[in-house]
């Protein structure tokens, strides 16, 4: 039976509706895969397979997700389940409510098999910053799955779930999707509610779907994209059917190549994949245009000021007073510092310190304020570039998945976010889709960016690239 198992959400939904498969049967198959594979991959921080099975039994086959297993990153609240954010400080924290995105998924018939591993508080690009254990890349267990949503992308790649949700602050959905050979979509900021996502960089954070095909991502977006009165940055938009909007060609589309990114050092196979994608685009009726985003290389330093600044405030609440880890000190101040010293890992501490520094009196103008101006500049430039092109094509990452422990220098790790960060700064949608493999057989991911609120069109374009490069329609 397992050879005939549906590989995508679309196939699964079809099989369930045709009564060829039941949600429980599929969950049992998934359970076997998890029990066999996850001890090596370590995608999950906590599993809830028994509960998931009863949820699958209760699932309505005619619902949009029809009992499909969808994994949830462990920085997104699901009522009654632990939500650790991959941190010691929340090791035993149980979510008292569900995130809006989780509620939407559950209401649409999703079944959650477990909460997935991540870099602590979503800060990292390899899932090695998890306080508990690193996740391994299912393609090559000696390699990282990317991060910070590495648990979610590994789970989808390994067949532990038909889809997953992650959070993307600077590429945390797209980069691990590229490393694991799956689709990762960061929607326009404000399209999916952030309510119940533990904030890292509030002005950058987006919840996005991780899937085995672009169509599956569109199916998940149909469930999650909705205005949420609980999130003041969520935007009311006319209803869009993302799946129905998928078009078969790129006819008449202008695919922009950003000139300033051309000179960057990129693994040769990724450069070759870019070339293949260009040709596929032209073949599908698109034209290639050269666009300029003059300050795009300043996105990285601007991001590494703004994100830590916001994180320094967002993570202040973990002080041991009301919940989470508490380490006693002689007085209040010592209790705070002992708790936070024991509860946070190195990378989180580094970013809190950077954030507090760039916001402090005397440095604010030179750092935070300057970075905010740069952000605005890049946003304006990207918006302009997206006037002369319908989508922008870039690699998702400069390299394919690296070996666990291979990148120890924080700056080296940060630099790898160069392609993904601009979309977060500008709030535009961006998607990473699989585009072949390198010589070592490791997945390559390419990225498309589109104008704000063009999510449906962007998914449609990505679907054409994805299928042209061998992906499942």
């Amino acid at each position: 039976m397992s050879s005939e198992l549906p590989r995508t959400l679309k196939q699964y939904r079809h099989a369930v509706r045709a009564h060829e498969l039941s949600a429980e049967e599929y969950l049992d198959e998934t359970r076997q895969l998890i029990e066999r594979g996850d001890p090596q991959v370590k995608a999950f921080l906590h599993l809830r397979l028994d509960a998931a099975r009863s949820d699958a039994q209760a699932a309505d086959p005619s619902s949009p997700l029809a009992g499909a297993p969808i994994a949830v990153k462990d920085n997104i609240m699901m009522a009654g389940e632990r939500c650790t954010c991959g941190s010691r400080i929340l090791e035993h924290y149980v979510a008292p409510y569900s995130a809006t995105a989780v509620r939407s998924l559950l209401a649409a018939g999703a079944v959650v098999p477990g909460k997935t591993n991540l870099d602590e508080f979503a800060m990292g690009s390899s899932t090695e910053n998890s306080a508990f254990f690193p996740t391994h890349n299912p393609t090559d267990l000696t390699r990282v799955p990317g991060g910070s949503s590495g648990g979610s992308t590994a789970a989808v790649a390994a067949g532990f779930a038909l889809g997953a949700i992650g959070s993307d602050t600077g590429g945390s959905v797209r980069q691990p999707a590229a490393f694991c050979g799956v689709v990762g979509f960061k929607p326009t900021y404000g399209l999916v509610s952030r309510y119940g996502l533990v904030a890292f960089g509030s002005s950058l954070d987006c919840i996005g779907p991780i899937a085995r095909s672009v169509r599956d991502a569109a199916i998940m977006m149909n469930v999650m994209a909705a205005h949420d009165p609980k999130d003041a940055t969520s935007v009311k938009r006319p209803h869009v059917d993302f799946e129905a909007a998928l078009q078969p060609t790129l006819a008449g589309k202008r695919v922009g190549i950003i000139r300033e990114l051309q000179g960057l050092d990129v693994q040769p196979e990724i450069a070759a994949a870019m070339e293949t994608a260009r040709k596929a685009a032209v073949k599908s009726g698109a034209s290639i245009v050269d666009v300029r985003v003059p300050h795009i290389l300043s996105a990285l330093p601007a991001y590494y000021i703004i994100a830590p600044a916001e994180c320094s405030a967002n993570l202040g609440r973990f002080d041991g007073v009301r919940y989470g880890l508490h380490v006693d000190g002689r007085d209040m101040t010592e209790t705070y510092s002992r708790t936070r010293n024991a509860g946070f890992g190195t990378e989180v501490k580094r970013r809190i310190l950077i954030g507090a520094f760039v916001l402090s009196a005397g440095y604010y103008d030179a750092y935070y304020k300057k970075a905010s101006s740069v952000r605005q500049l890049i946003t304006d430039e990207l918006d302009a570039a997206l006037q002369s092109a319908d989508v922008l094509l870039t690699p998702t990452t400069p390299t394919t998945a690296f070996r666990l422990g291979a990148v120890t220098d924080a700056l080296e790790m940060y630099k790898a976010d160069v392609f993904t960060i601009p979309a977060n700064l500008a709030g535009v949608p961006a998607i990473s889709f699989p585009a072949g493999k390198d010589a070592a057989g490791l997945p390559i991911g390419l990225q498309l960016m589109g104008p704000r609120w063009s999510d449906a069109e962007l998914l449609s374009s990505a679907n054409v690239f994805f299928t042209a490069l061998g992906g499942e329609s």
Binding site: C83, Y97, G196, R317, S360
Partner: protein, 475 residues
């Protein structure tokens, strides 16, 4: 010596729910019963702005003559404290909702205007209760019911020069916020809180060192703290001991201030724009309608009462303490056009009854129609002024009409000529000596005879008609 005083006042906006969540703002309930993931700052929770709080803030800022900005911005003020669950307070910093404006005060130096620097909206913190308040061996407990309460902070320019002026400012501000329904202004319930900046300088042209005073729980405390601080700083200047830039704590019992912390060691709050809330954009047409629908302000009404109605400053102030009182008064004089009489009756008889009952005017059954009716009956001699004092409690407590009340108390004056003649004949027959004296030209005796008639009528006779009747029969 010149004293310079500036105030920072937190006014709690009278909304049903908190600033950024749906929790109730009810006061005095069990600790931690009005809380939710948002106001507890639980991970993943997000703030959403209370539109009513913004409307109330816009209202008070407009009344104060501030420039209300169509676009303002929320910021995070970062500091660690157990009663601040997010480790930051959502407030406004660089771009407050309002700037400028002023509030008039009347003091010994005459009518003046205290300029305002700015007004911004923000959320309150929780309430810490330390070992001193609770017998729990050094523990600190926190009540988060207050956390997230909507506040407007009003900051004045250093335009006041004495504790009396500060007191007067606060009194007038409280009258205004209550008048507009923006806040209960109740200091005891923390709905109005005030920090004071005081500096004393020997040179009127130069500002002295600024000292901040906190923990001021009443208007009187504000005045006492300023009076004490004025004296302390003057003494420092005389003794040549330096005055520190610091925050001082007011001790209610001792009436003194003590050093809390020096400014040098103060926090760096690392303000930055709140990414969870979009810019606050006010609709210009709504702003305009706030302006055009602004009621006449209390001090405007007060001076109109003095100027146009000839009321004493005392009566005018009393009648404009509450908007409902002023409206009651105006409705009453529309029916009974004797403002001074109504003002004096409200200031004495009505005020006494309210005092006895511990109620405000609106909490009683008394209506302008009833009060005007009662005063008209007195004027028409339908009842005596004395009798009206027995009628009023019924109007206040039961809401009956004056006619009904007079009838039920049997207080109608006897104005019926035949009845009065009957009494008069009896009086004339029984008091021959006095009757003779009157007939011989002793006018004053008539008062005695009228008194006798009143006695016979058990006080119900109309005294004027009684005199007329006697006079006619004695001719």
């Amino acid at each position: 010596m010149t004293t310079t005083i500036g105030l920072e006042i937190h006014v709690q906006l009278a909304t049903q729910t908190k600033m950024f969540c749906g929790c109730s703002t009810a006061f005095g309930d069990e600790p931690n019963t009005h809380v939710c993931p948002v106001c507890l700052g639980l991970p993943g929770a997000l703030p959403t702005l209370n539109a009513q709080a913004v409307r109330l803030a816009t209202r008070i800022a407009t009344a104060l003559g501030c420039t209300v900005h169509e676009v303002s911005e929320f910021s995070r003020k970062n500091y660690f404290y157990p009663d601040l669950p997010k480790s930051y307070q959502i407030t406004q910093f660089d771009r407050p909702i309002a700037t400028g404006g002023s509030l008039p005060i009347v003091t010994e130096r005459g009518a003046r205007s205290v300029r305002l620097t700015r007004a911004h909206i923000e959320e309150d913190a929780g309430k810490s209760m330390h070992a001193a308040d609770i017998t729990l061996g050094g523990e600190t407990l926190v009540d988060f019911n207050r956390c997230g309460m909507p506040l407007i902070e009003i900051v004045t320019e250093p335009d006041m020069q004495s504790g009396d002026e500060a007191y007067e400012f606060l009194r007038n501000l409280r009258r205004l916020v209550r008048w507009l329904g923006v806040s209960s202004g109740d200091m005891e319930k923390g709905a109005m809180r005030c920090d004071v900046n005081v500096s004393v300088s020997p040179d009127p042209a130069k500002r002295g060192t600024k000292v901040e005073i906190k923990n001021l729980n009443s208007f009187r405390s504000v005045k006492r703290a300023i009076d004490y601080e004025e004296q302390r700083q003057a003494q420092c200047l005389t003794d040549c001991t330096p005055i520190m830039t610091e925050t001082r704590h007011f001790d209610e019992v001792q009436g003194t201030t003590t050093s809390m912390r020096s400014k040098e060691a103060s926090n760096d709050y690392r303000y930055f724009p709140e990414p969870d809330l979009p810019l606050l954009q006010l609709d210009p047409t709504e702003l305009e309608s706030v302006r055009t629908q602004m009621p006449e302000l209390p001090w405007e009404v007060q001076s109109r009462f003095e100027r146009d109605l000839g009321l004493s400053p005392y009566d005018a102030a009393l009648l404009t303490e509450e908007r409902s009182t002023a409206e009651f008064f105006q409705q009453t004089i529309a029916l009974y056009d004797n403002p001074k009489k109504v003002a004096s009756y409200m200031g004495t008889e009505v005020a006494r009854l309210l005092n006895e009952r511990g109620k405000t005017l609106t909490e009683t059954q008394l209506t302008p129609v009833a009060l005007a009716g009662l005063l008209t009956m007195v004027e028409d001699n339908a009842i005596s002024n004395t009798a009206s004092k027995d009628v009023l409690p019924l109007l206040v407590d039961t809401g009956t009409t004056p006619m009904e009340a007079v009838r039920s108390l049997g207080l109608e004056q006897v104005s019926d000529t035949s009845a009065l003649e009957g009494f008069a004949r009896e009086v004339i027959a029984e008091n021959t000596t006095q009757v003779d004296q009157f007939r011989n030209g002793k006018e004053a005796v008539l008062a005695f005879l009228v008194g006798q008639l009143m006695k016979k009528s058990k006080g119900k006779a109309n005294p004027k008609l009684a005199g007329d009747t006697l006079r006619r029969l004695l001719k």
